[in-house]
Symmetry: C2
Subunit: 419 residues, 2 copies
């Protein structure tokens, strides 16, 4: 990593951030620090000052940073952390949307060669370079929309070599103006279409062929534990092998049916249980005991016209909640975690402050990065979002437009195109 | 209007547009023309070619336009027409959002000096220049998000002079890279807070003082016909006076209660009846008979957590439907009509094609501009949206990010900042 120039944000209308280096649950999820009239400074990619403009002028006023950004009228937030995305794919599922909106079932579309099958076929057919360009384009859009750290899953290759290819792309991406990537192996996204009648073969291929080669590239392993996809037993087999290989665990749990995924996440002390549309009191209690972070995906619930996950019950039970985009070509095609914020509030019932913590510190915690990013505090990586708005509430209130004036990526200032 | 250079869009992946110079209702609302491999040309601000790239190359290939835009991989759509917005206001209602999300009633927030009262106070206090800059900023954002024609209402002045000031601002705005503005007088947005106990005074001030001076500036007059705001009788008094003054009629109808607004719109053959969340079969039949256009505002329904207007029943009864943003500081703060498209489909049940017609040709028809804009056809104003996407479905499918590469405003090419 080359040295980055020192950076300062001066005279911001507002600064808003959760605080600390650990996940925040229960009432604490909604407690954020707000400073009116704020400044932030970074040296060598680390935050060295976070506080009031007045204090900054006293301390650093005579030593301006090499890069100085006038944040008058703007708000400083932690760079967003998107804890659940699927950005490695090719093809176009746009033409399916009419059928989906008309209510045609996922199974019927897939049976006709559409759905995830279409994405898998196009992804396998794409060259490494095509796939890399598609990935970079999506990561750049995420950054333009305020995301500075992104968990990124494989899962559209579904052969040993295609899954490892996707993982290599993610693990080797070093664009300095792209978000920090946390790669997750999701070979267990679906069964390969060509061997759907021999599901255990794929489970064994993941456990004994892919996982040993994925170790060192993937920080996490994820499984789509769901009726008709991976059973609880198959999920347990894969995830325990992943743990042995040194990876953390995430689970697509109880999205379409109440199936045991969240209970398995609690049993395995997974880092995260994601979706959770169908969970009830038992799952909530189990997650609360295990300390697993609930990653909610309100954009997807909206697109599936489903009842959102029980966000308030999770918060009240002390389960830490993260909010992610689920960026994917099937059920939620957006690179903008910021656009999901209003859905977290309006559809899922989170407060603005709970949502902000869920998109920053708690998301970082679910990725094992709470000491590194997810809040604006001295010593952390200089991951800053500059919002063209008088306070953080506009992230929700002023919806449908990109208010991100730019981000600092590990201390490197990257302005966004302004609208 | 100075002459604009000739303009061509070459080699677009797709072109999609409704057709004709009149509103499209019933089944015809969902019938759009799609061309794969398309080109468009404009001379002197008028469309002179709309068709295939192959045909264009034959006809115009040897005479390139002065401005040539490579639209490879992109989609050409009619510039969006936003038929319901409130862009003239000052102040910040962001801090209210916590109370609103927590369920505090509109009445309770207003009683504490918040809500529309706060916006009215800030708007009155703003200088002409402040208000003009705020308006221009919002219009520029609308343009960046693909809107080329915008209906714009007054309604946050609520004195004779402040309503006329807002109207003068709208009627005099001549920024050449801003959307075409259609000004609407909405003095009957609320009663002035200082004379709420003498409602008929304000009704008479509108009818006998404001309307005579507004004629020539406002193309339409609108009334918020609603329980606790303007009664049906008051609304009728204002709107018949407006008609006498030569204005068209729009009505905020049956948004919060089933109150008679849509029936009044039908009785008066209004150009549009807007919101319509609470209408039933009787209102739908009346609108169908009168030919009034139903302007649906799905973003607002979402923000109010209300059941959306009965879009499918309106379509099936042959009522032409437009879809608008309702951009306003209270119930729906977004400048992006494009962002409302996914809500029109997912929440209200319109198809992508019905939504596209609703945001272009039918919206233009509701403003009396169907012969001028709202579709890509030779002879019409060169109002074109270039979408960075392989087809029009991505306007809905690829949500939460701004895909607009730029717009042609009456033949003037204005690229958008790309994300």
């Amino acid at each position: 990593m080359p040295a980055v120039p020192s950076l300062e944000f001066r005279n911001a209308a507002c600064l808003a951030t959760p605080t600390g280096t650990a996940v925040r649950a229960g009432k604490k999820q909604g407690e954020i620090l707000r400073i009116e009239g704020a400044a932030v400074r970074a040296e060598n990619g680390r935050l060295t000052f976070v506080g009031t403009e007045t204090e900054y002028a006293k301390t650093w006023g005579s030593r301006p940073a090499e890069v100085s950004v006038d944040a008058t009228g703007m708000t400083l937030l932690p760079g967003l952390v998107d804890a659940h995305t699927h950005p490695v794919w090719a093809g176009d599922r746009g033409p399916e949307i009419g059928r989906r909106l008309a209510g045609e079932s996922y199974a019927s579309i897939a049976a006709a060669g559409g759905g995830i099958r279409a994405t898998v076929a196009a992804t396998r057919a794409a060259s490494d370079e095509e796939l890399r360009q598609l990935l970079r384009r999506r990561l750049a859009r995420m950054r333009s929309c305020g995301t500075t750290t992104v968990e990124a899953k494989t899962g559209y290759g579904l052969t040993v070599s295609d899954e490892l290819r996707a993982l290599r792309l993610l693990a080797s991406e070093r664009g300095e103006i792209l978000p920090r990537i946390v790669p997750t192996l999701l070979a267990a996204h679906e069964f390969p279409p060509e061997s759907r009648d021999r599901p255990d073969e794929w489970v064994e291929a993941i456990a004994s062929e892919i996982l040993p080669q994925a170790a060192g590239m993937a920080k996490f392993c994820d499984v789509f534990c769901e009726e008709g996809v991976f059973t609880v037993a198959q999920s347990r087999r894969i995830l325990t092998a992943a743990r042995t290989a040194g990876m953390g665990i995430r689970i697509h749990a109880d999205e379409l049916t109440r199936y045991g995924g969240a209970l398995l996440a609690a049993e395995l002390s997974a880092a995260s249980a994601d979706h959770l549309l169908r969970i009830g009191d038992e799952e909530i209690a189990a997650l609360s005991r295990s300390g697993t972070i609930a990653v909610l995906l309100p954009g997807t619930a909206w697109w599936m016209r489903a009842r959102p996950a029980p966000a308030r019950a999770l918060i009240e039970a002390g389960v830490p909640v993260a909010v992610a985009s689920d960026a994917n070509p099937g059920t939620c095609f957006t690179e903008s975690l910021a656009s999901v914020a209003a859905h977290a509030c309006l559809d899922s019932g989170l407060s603005v402050e709970e949502t902000l913590t869920g998109m920053t510190l708690n998301a970082a915690a679910s990725l094992g990065l709470a000491a590194e990013t997810g809040s604006l505090e001295t010593g952390k990586s200089a991951d800053v979002l500059v919002l063209d708005a008088p306070d953080d509430r506009h992230l929700v209130y002023h919806w449908g437009v990109n208010l991100v004036a730019g981000v600092s990526l590990r201390g490197l200032w990257v302005p966004s195109p302004t609208t």
